[in-house]
Symmetry: C2
Subunit: 170 residues, 2 copies
């Protein structure tokens, strides 16, 4: 690629194909880099541009990282300013972190314990990043549409979480 920015060109209208490209681009970018801030900053950008190239109105893509026992702290992201700190068990991110299970929320306003960083968000997916039984953090993506995410996203983003575990030193 001529420029690093070209990694954010996704020339496909197929969600599965674009997310596959996202994983390939993440692997290429992290092949000689294990710094988690650098890698997750680029990963946030890849996620943002992958969904936008599919015309999915993602309004936030990024990470919360386990900073201390039971506490998530805001990591690199794309989108508007967000809540800095989330306790394990609280909200969609906290539930993914404590249960270590991907949360697909088709309508955040029907979720009993949704923490709203942005009132415009309609749906959300949160994927835990788990290494040897410990939650290192979560991938968090918000969408302005209802039912923004489904099984295809879950599968691809869980693979991204595995790649992050393999490539990043936290």
């Amino acid at each position: 690629m001529a420029h690093h920015a070209d990694f954010t060109n996704f020339q496909s209208n197929d969600r599965k194909e674009s997310l596959e490209l996202l994983l390939q681009h993440y692997e290429a970018l992290s092949s000689e880099q294990d710094n988690w801030v650098a890698n997750l900053s680029n990963a946030s950008s890849l996620i943002w541009y992958a969904y936008h190239s599919l015309n999915v109105p993602v309004n936030w893509s990024g990470f919360y990282i386990t900073a201390s026992e039971g506490q998530l702290l805001l990591g690199p992201f794309q989108g508007k300013v967000a809540c800095q700190s989330i306790e394990f068990g609280r909200g969609v991110c906290g539930k993914a972190a404590s249960d270590q299970v991907t949360q697909v929320v088709p309508d955040v306003n029907k979720h009993p314990d949704h923490i709203a960083c942005d009132g415009e968000t309609k749906s959300e997916i949160v994927v835990p990043i788990v290494k040897e039984g410990k939650t290192l953090g979560v991938i968090d993506i918000d969408c302005l549409d209802l039912e923004g995410f489904g099984e295809t996203d879950k599968q691809a983003l869980e693979r991204l979480a595995e790649l992050i575990v393999k490539t990043c030193k936290f």
Copy 2:
């Protein structure tokens, strides 16, 4: 504010006023938080939305952080995927880091040692973040227009760099 995302609403067409608001919002967001990743992730977002509300076509806003002696690593940012590692002295970011002087570049294509992460970038400003004589990192902003940045930006962003030194633990 009702939601954290509201911090990215800048209701002014005056550059000096919007950048003043940016500084106030950064101070509010970092008042109870000293984690540099969380604070600089939100700062990237504030910068992005402040300039976009002024219709300045900023295509990258973020940070490079001193990771080891003479080496900058990619930090939190908004925009397309970027170069992960830059040596002190190399390119506009590296020069700001080594000289500890703000670099305002009206035309990156006329700059003798510009590192192009994105071929579309036309102008750039890089502000060093310096604590007790040591460069902690740089604020880096790219624009799709020539002469995107000037004295008003330099003054405000140098104050942001000072606030970052005061509020963040690196």
